[in-house]
Symmetry: C2
Subunit: 223 residues, 2 copies
């Protein structure tokens, strides 16, 4: 009984996510669904990415939080379109919440829509929102045992950003072990080691993202 | 429709949690439900607490993880009874999962059962398991904006442990701001600033916990 209810919710979400996806395809907008534990650095990564790519990629942001508009205020300071979703308790974003923001964007003016999910290493991985790809952040302060304890998010993600590497001298965490465990779960993961604080490693991420957006948009135009 | 389904699940859980509570009361076992984001230091706090109180308080542990038995192995190394629950995907522990462990404990030999929930700052706060109180950990690496963004867990918890204070020189986080925001949400919070790595601040936590267990158990015996 409980299982079938959950399955129905997931199926209903899947239909809406696919409708979102169709609209994004028509408009030529690439969509990233960014996930992590609370405080791993999602908003900081978005701020850095906007700074790094704003002259080359037209970006917009959806901020998902249970409550508060602090993250949207941070992003608005960067001068790009941003919409805050407050889930009012829900532990993840779903397709419907994303659809409800559509009238607040001019998609013809966007190349890349970055969706910051609720801080949660579990539930967001189960709900598509219409994204092209999922990216996740793991902070080195969370420890190197996380891939085997929270495997679904590592399996669903195309990109893993290992953040806060500036803190490595002060924490017991092996980046090599994160890499090994994460790649065992998902051998296709693109992994970047970064510090949103010092800026280390971000250039490789910007380059990858810029190329991914260009290739994906070329695919939209061809089809 | 979706709301009523969720409500039914919560109500069914509440009944089982109350049954668990009755059994714990009869057996004189105090139960702590420990919650936090992934990697904030739940297992480290349990290890330290076991070391600090093992001569004075008879303890047992339930480890909740989506997958893996790494945490139970760490706790088993401390020589106290421990049971690992693998939720197989579920983002929180519920009353039923706790009940399923009962035949693996001798509750007459326990004063305090410590339940480590799944690493998640959202969902576990909604599900009672039959605990006397909820305790939560916030690591300073997660940032000082977390109380206002994840208010339910701060509201539901009796105790807030602010962990990893040894990292304060290296992160942008104000413990004062955490305290202010957390106390605005829940003025009754007991707050401890600790480092499970250096041991700083833990003595006050041990003392509080020891006294809470003694007082609560005196109440069981009186009633």
């Amino acid at each position: 009984m409980k299982i079938s209810v959950v399955k129905n919710i997931l199926e209903a979400n899947e239909r809406i996510a696919q409708q979102n996806r169709q609209l994004f395809d028509q408009k030529g907008v690439v969509v990233m669904n960014l996930m992590s534990s609370p405080g791993a650095g999602k908003t900081s990564l978005l701020e850095r990415t906007i700074e790094g790519l704003k002259d080359e990629v037209k970006m917009g942001v959806i901020e998902g939080d249970i409550q508060s508009s602090k993250d949207a205020e941070r992003i608005a300071g960067k001068g790009i379109p941003v919409v805050q979703i407050n889930t009012g308790g829900a532990c993840h974003l779903d397709g419907n919440m994303i659809r409800d923001t559509f009238d607040q964007f001019d998609f013809d003016q966007l190349d890349l829509l970055m969706v910051e999910n609720v801080g949660n290493l579990v539930c967001p991985a189960e709900f598509h929102v219409g994204e092209d790809f999922k990216a996740m952040i793991l902070s080195v302060t969370e420890g190197d045992d996380k891939p085997s304890k929270y495997p679904l998010m590592f399996r669903e993600s195309k990109v893993l950003l290992i953040n806060k590497i500036d803190l490595l001298p002060h924490v017991d965490c092996s980046v090599e072990r994160i890499r090994e465990e994460a790649l065992r779960i998902n051998p296709h993961l693109e992994i970047f080691e970064v510090s949103c604080k010092s800026g280390e490693g971000l250039e490789a991420w910007f380059q990858w993202l810029k190329e991914f957006v260009a290739q994906r948009r070329a695919g939209f135009q061809a089809s």
